[in-house]
């Protein structure tokens, strides 16, 4: 049964109006990928990269405006749709993609000057970067859970190539683990999707419609609980592997540490979000079908495990990127915990934290990238006194770390405050545990970051000026949102939160 045979078709004026931005949004990175596959190795490649990302961001904003006006948009025979939950993730993804491309231009140039990158590799890098963005946007906007799976898998493949782009033993090892572990994980997700389809099949009837989230969401209460519970387990573990939930997180630190820094930034800032988004979509269905809060409890458990383990592992890090990778695990755990709690407030906190985390963490990785390049190493004990070489990098790293550790007035604190307070209400015993973990994380990270930023330096000056606009753009946004969240954003989050429910 082919796609266009099923599904209700929207009135033409609506489709005509709404298809344009979405089409452009998805098309531009694909187009960019093709273009860069040809020109990626040239100096101009980086600029093209930025330009395409800018275009994508513009479309995303356009889309956001559309959504802010109306309700959900469903196009292409419901294959793609935009509601308040994924629209802000789309915008975020496009935005971080843009800033990262801005950061990656000088960064990768130096890598190339230092001989770690070659022309062909640059081409691969740029093409894959765009393809990766395209896949994530596809995963975010698609309505078809099967397509969601396909897109996630494709995104994995792209990032595998990106992680291994240096061809060093370490990067190969990281990439291999990344591939195998995520491959297996995603396979489980496929089985979960299968079971979901099986369940839907009995209610909606076989065919395209049975995998469309909007349809499933409409009938979620009638879905067979036994199947759904199994399906959710597989989906949670499958996509959870990509989210980096303990104990299926093992690929994450390696992949973050060994790949190029821009990739670490997008992995932490975007990919994890998208995977979590997939889990959320499934959770909505599972909640509807089961109605016994089991999905929530499972997510709470995984979240707590992740936060605790990551916090303690932070104490043992020597590699700077690895350390912040663990902090990503910690924060993903926190977000998962929040969504596990459910309810408008906790969901709100979770969504806010998603945003804050991707902004802050990618900013940190930008700063870290420059720091590591200056020092010529990622080993923290050999990076000292950045402040004297380049105050901007130093302050960027310091403020970023403080922000990610949940220091007011940065936004991460705002979201953590919301999450913790709702935890105090719904799950009182969990709050002290989380806070303990946060304290440990604080001790660990500050102990490492402080000597890197302050004190006498051992770092040599690089000829180039670092691209720090992205860093302070992100941190500034984080700060602003920590002090004041504009109403339209609030209403957005609110709607999304109510969508997730739980």
């Amino acid at each position: 049964m082919l796609p266009f045979e099923t599904g209700l078709t929207l009135p033409p004026f609506l489709t005509g109006l709404t298809e344009a931005p979405l089409t452009l949004l998805l098309a531009s990175p694909v187009f960019g990928a093709l273009l860069l596959a040809l020109l990626g190795h040239l100096r101009i490649g980086a600029w093209i990269n930025i330009a395409v990302c800018a275009l994508t961001t513009a479309c995303a904003v356009w889309l956001a405006v559309e959504v802010a006006r109306g309700a959900t948009i469903v196009v292409y025979h419901e294959l793609f749709f935009i509601d308040s939950l994924n629209v802000f993730l789309v915008t975020l993804t496009a935005f971080v993609g843009l800033t990262t491309s801005m950061f990656s231009r000088p960064y990768m140039r130096i890598e190339r000057d230092q001989g770690r990158m070659t022309g062909p590799r640059m081409r691969l890098y740029h093409a894959m970067y765009q393809l990766f963005l395209a896949m994530m946007l596809c995963a975010l906007t698609t309505n078809n859970l099967g397509v969601l799976w396909v897109a996630m898998e494709a995104a994995t493949l792209c990032t595998v190539l990106l992680v291994s782009v240096y061809r060093t033993p370490a990067s190969l090892e990281a990439a291999w683990k990344y591939f195998i572990l995520c491959g297996v994980g995603i396979a489980q997700a496929l089985f979960g999707t299968l079971l979901l389809y099986l369940a839907a099949d009995r209610v909606i009837g076989a065919g395209e419609g049975a995998l469309l989230w909007t349809h499933l969401n409409a009938v979620k209460t009638q879905l067979e609980p036994t199947i759904l519970s199994l399906a959710f387990v597989f989906l949670l573990l499958g996509y959870g592997t990509k989210t980096g939930l303990v104990p299926v997180h093992h690929w994450l630190p390696d992949a973050h540490a060994e790949g190029p820094t821009p990739i670490s930034a997008v992995l932490s800032g975007l990919l994890l979000n998208v995977a979590l988004y997939a889990i959320l979509r499934c959770k909505v269905l599972a909640d509807g079908a089961l109605g016994n809060g089991l999905p929530g409890r499972a997510m709470v458990a995984f979240g707590l495990m992740s936060v605790l383990l990551a916090a303690f592992l932070l104490l043992r890090q020597r590699d700077i990127k690895r350390m912040f990778a663990y902090s990503s695990i910690e924060h993903m755990g926190l977000i998962t915990f929040a969504f596990g709690l459910g309810g408008p407030v906790a969901n709100f906190g979770g969504l806010l934290h998603m945003t804050m985390h991707s902004l802050t963490k990618s900013a940190i990785f930008f700063a870290v990238g420059h720091a590591a390049q200056k020092a010529g190493t990622q080993v923290m004990d050999e990076i000292r006194g950045l402040l004297q070489i380049s105050p901007t990098v130093g302050w960027g790293l310091m403020l970023g770390s403080l922000a990610i550790l949940g220091m007011p007035p940065f936004g991460v604190f705002a979201s953590e405050f919301v999450i913790l307070t709702s935890a105090m209400r719904q799950l009182p015993w969990a709050a002290p545990v989380l806070l303990l973990a946060l304290a440990v994380a604080f001790a660990a990270v500050m102990a490492r970051v402080q000597p890197m930023v302050f004190g006498e330096t051992n770092v040599k000056r690089l000829p180039h000026p670092p691209a720090l606009v992205p860093v302070f753009l992100h941190l500034g946004l984080g700060l602003a949102l920590g002090l004041y969240i504009p109403p339209f954003l609030v209403s957005w989050y609110m709607r999304a939160a109510s969508l997730i429910g739980g």
Partner: protein, 219 residues
């Protein structure tokens, strides 16, 4: 005739399970590839069968795709790979064979118990085979765990994909076409990338023994 074909599906399921066990026990990489091919063939047969019985013609298409990909393309590539990399034998697996078998049997029991309630709910004619599919998924998972070399792990990965396909066919008469195509594409891409990797790993570590891939760790 129909009845026969209906039973045939169960037969294929049984064969698939046997093959999965065989893979766990098998140490020679060449024969692993052969087993994988056989698995692919069984899958194709099962798909056609179901397609015929349920008169869902898109299953033929997917059967064809499966045949092209998993019976022809991947095995050939695997052969090439093994020739080029000169890997014949896997080193001693991490768990010894009998123990692995034992665990495997437990898994089968577990999978059947798990699947039975669901199978009861399924509308498909091949519902009873869902348990088998789940079992073989878990078995190939087990295989990936126990193998100490890269190529067998890859094969395990692929056979897991196979079992998933079988599950799809058996439980739900196949996923929607679009999705199946996407999945197939991903598998192919993934395999190609893996192939490239194997060479790179080889030239970096001049061995495919994954014990070399254990340096990124917390100690």
């Amino acid at each position: 005739m129909i009845a026969l074909l209906t039973q045939a599906i169960n037969l294929f399921a049984a064969i698939l399970l046997i093959l999965a066990f065989a893979m766990i026990t098998q140490r020679r990489i060449l024969s692993l590839i052969h087993l994988f091919t056989a698995q692919g063939l069984t899958l194709v047969a099962a798909t056609i069968d179901v397609g015929y019985l349920t008169a869902q013609h898109h299953l033929y298409a997917s059967a064809a795709a499966t045949f092209a990909l998993k019976v022809v393309l991947l095995p050939v590539l695997l052969h090439r790979l093994t020739d080029r990399l000169q890997v014949r034998w896997d080193v001693e697996p991490l768990l010894n064979i009998p123990l692995t078998m034992l665990i495997g049997i437990l898994l089968v029991v577990f999978a059947f118990n798990l699947a039975s309630p669901i199978a009861a709910l399924s509308a498909s004619i091949a519902r009873s085979t869902l348990g088998v599919a789940l079992a073989s998924v878990l078995l190939s998972f087990l295989m990936m765990i126990t193998r100490a070399k890269a190529v067998p792990q890859v094969i395990g990965f692929l056979s897991m994909e196979n079992s998933l396909f079988f599950a799809a066919t058996a439980a739900t008469n196949g996923m929607p076409m679009l999705v199946e195509l996407g999945i197939a594409l991903d598998v192919l891409m993934g395999f190609l990338i893996l192939g490239v990797f194997l060479f790179q790993i080889r030239e970096q570590f001049d061995s495919l023994d994954i014990h070399h891939l254990e340096r990124l760790r917390e100690d």
